[in-house]
Symmetry: C2
Subunit: 343 residues, 2 copies
DNA sequence: GGTTAGCACTCATCTGAGTCGAGTGCTAAC
DNA sequence: GTTAGCACTCGACTCAGATGAGTGCTAACC
């Protein structure tokens, strides 16, 4: 267990390093107004902290920088939870005051606001397919061969895809089926749509409708839900402004990873039981390219079920306190807005 | 006017520089199999070419690099038009053989293919609003206050936005209006929708329908077309692999510009009268950040009207011949596919 | 015992001189 | 008109020395 003084010194070092990106020495800590010890004392404590694994020395005659363990301790025990209303609150509140009337717009806009406020990269995950259900299904004929299938979800998102209609199937039959679907499948979660289609409607449809096989094929395509969740990135180039990423190769591997949707999805997926704000430091991200990055995520939800996540990606030397504060407010407000909107 | 030998030398220098990114000297040109002159002779010609403005010298004792004028000459007169079927053809043909049944998918996929093939950044511009017309309009109620307006366009794209429905307006009235719109406004270009709404339908609606004012407000929002055209970027990070962009600041200014939709739009907008493939070299892009970039664009069309553009962004030292070839094939095939699809 | 002043030591970074070599321009010979 | 030869230029690289921020250790101090 750390003594109070060690905690204070660790805190000071992390703070200093976060703002300067340079190894911090004993003298500079000693000179801060809030630390009443001489450099020598600080040095002794720093040596102890290094032994304990909270600090690292890039080379013998340089100052110390926090290790991953140091950041972890900082995040877990030292982050000044700015419960006080900060200037940030205003910006976020202003954002939610704006009237945006589509889920997609809100999320896209939120990503932009976040990256602008923090100067890091923001990653927003749209509402998950798992927790949205069918509100309405429609088939609009384009011509005699093709039609657009439109799926309106409970979160107000609209998905569409074009399907080919076999010539054997008549328009009136098609309509019958669509009506059937709407009466039976509304409020069924999207990912269950297909199985329910077979289990509950198969029999009935087979009775009433000719060309059952062909029709099922059409519906199969129509109800295929976008497995690829929508990911909104903003401020990816902010990575480039961080001094630790002046090496082009590192940045490239990070930016490339950001273009890889599946990997991002895995990273942002709300971990089981994880409530509130999660911080993954360096190697905790389980990805080489992110070894020098920290990812702070929060989830927003509806009815207690996580709908999507918000993430901020920055260097391990990140303004944890500020970002966590902002993320907390934003996820809370997003949750509140959703609750208000869909009740 | 350049002599044949000067042309050959200029060609050799540009080719060499394109593949090496290093200033090319007289000796290395001389050693190429296809040039039968000694370094000294080459040097003389190079000095002449420099006087004429086709070459530049980074410093006195370095080789020569092509100037913008040199690139321009190369592109206009020297590019080996590989009319022959290249290996690239296969990839592109394979792409079009795949069955993709939505315009958006095709474009998104094409952008990816392009950036992968060229290792540059590809920018695709979706079909312009100006040239697409209404195929179908629909209003799906979500609950008693809101509805989703769905616009299916002649190119098979589906746009949607959520609108609030004033309580005064009944469902049956709404339906009446939607039917009216579908019977009168189909095939009207999207950007004319609103004016036609007022000019052709205003009177009739006022006669049949109460709450005319409120209803018009709803339709106003519903028919608002996405002014922001969809832009598909792919391989933005390929910029980072080019040696001329190892300077992080330059890359950042380029990547930032790529995130700025309006600027990109302006750059990709098909220039008047420009048919075929356009090459904008360095400062011809009219943007500081692109001073060391070349942008090669082609358009694809339907019925002779430009629908959108394809662009490849790379360093001025770009594989012009290859990229122009690929772009030519792709735009032709895209045009052909559209024609086949929507006839 | 905790704290601090003092001091030798380390080591990354900066600086400037020296070297290297790719490439040029010019002249004279072929 | 072409080419060999040669002096010259100048960026890139190398290496030694200076610099200074920062450390660890010891001994004195409260």
């Amino acid at each position: 267990m750390l003594t109070d003084r060690q905690r204070m010194i660790l805190n000071a070092i992390v703070d200093d390093y976060i703002s300067s990106a340079e190894p911090v020495g004993s003298r500079s800590i000693s000179k801060r107004g809030d630390v009443g010890y001489s450099p020598a004392t600080i040095r002794n404590e720093m040596a102890d902290l290094e032994d304990l694994g909270y600090l690292e020395q890039p080379h013998t005659s340089a100052g110390r920088i926090p290790s991953h363990k140091g950041y972890r301790y900082y995040v877990d025990h030292l982050v000044p939870w700015n419960s006080a209303e900060t200037a940030e609150m205003g910006t976020i509140r202003a954002f939610f005051a704006e009237k945006l009337n589509a889920m997609e717009q809100v999320i896209q806009h939120a990503a932009m606001i976040l990256s602008n406020m923090t100067n890091y990269t923001s990653i927003l995950l749209g509402p998950e397919v798992f927790h949205t259900s069918l509100r309405h299904f429609q088939l609009l004929p384009l011509d005699d061969k093709t039609a657009v299938a439109i799926i309106v979800t409970s979160t107000g998102q609209v998905e569409n895809r074009t399907v080919n209609i076999p010539p054997e199937i008549s328009v009136s039959e098609m309509e019958k089926v669509v009506n059937l679907l709407n009466s039976k499948l509304v409020n069924v979660p999207l990912y269950k749509l297909k199985t329910r289609l077979y289990s509950e409607l198969g029999e009935e449809m087979q009775r009433h409708i000719s060309h059952y096989e062909e029709l099922m094929q059409v519906l199969d395509i129509a109800l295929e839900s976008d497995q690829e969740q929508r990911i909104y990135l903003s401020g990816a180039t902010n990575m480039l402004t961080q001094p630790e990423f002046k090496d082009v190769d590192k940045v490239k591997s990070i930016l490339d990873l950001l273009e890889e949707t599946p990997t991002l999805l895995k990273m942002l997926a709300p971990t089981t039981g994880g409530t509130g704000i999660q911080v993954r430091i360096g190697t905790e991200n389980n990805h080489e390219a992110f070894a020098n990055c920290s990812l702070i995520t929060a989830t927003y939800s509806l009815d207690g079920q996580a709908l999507g996540s918000i993430g901020i990606l920055g260097p391990t030397r990140m303004e944890y306190a500020r970002v966590m504060g902002i993320l907390g407010i934003l996820s809370r407000d997003l949750t509140a807005m959703l609750a208000h909107w869909y009740k």
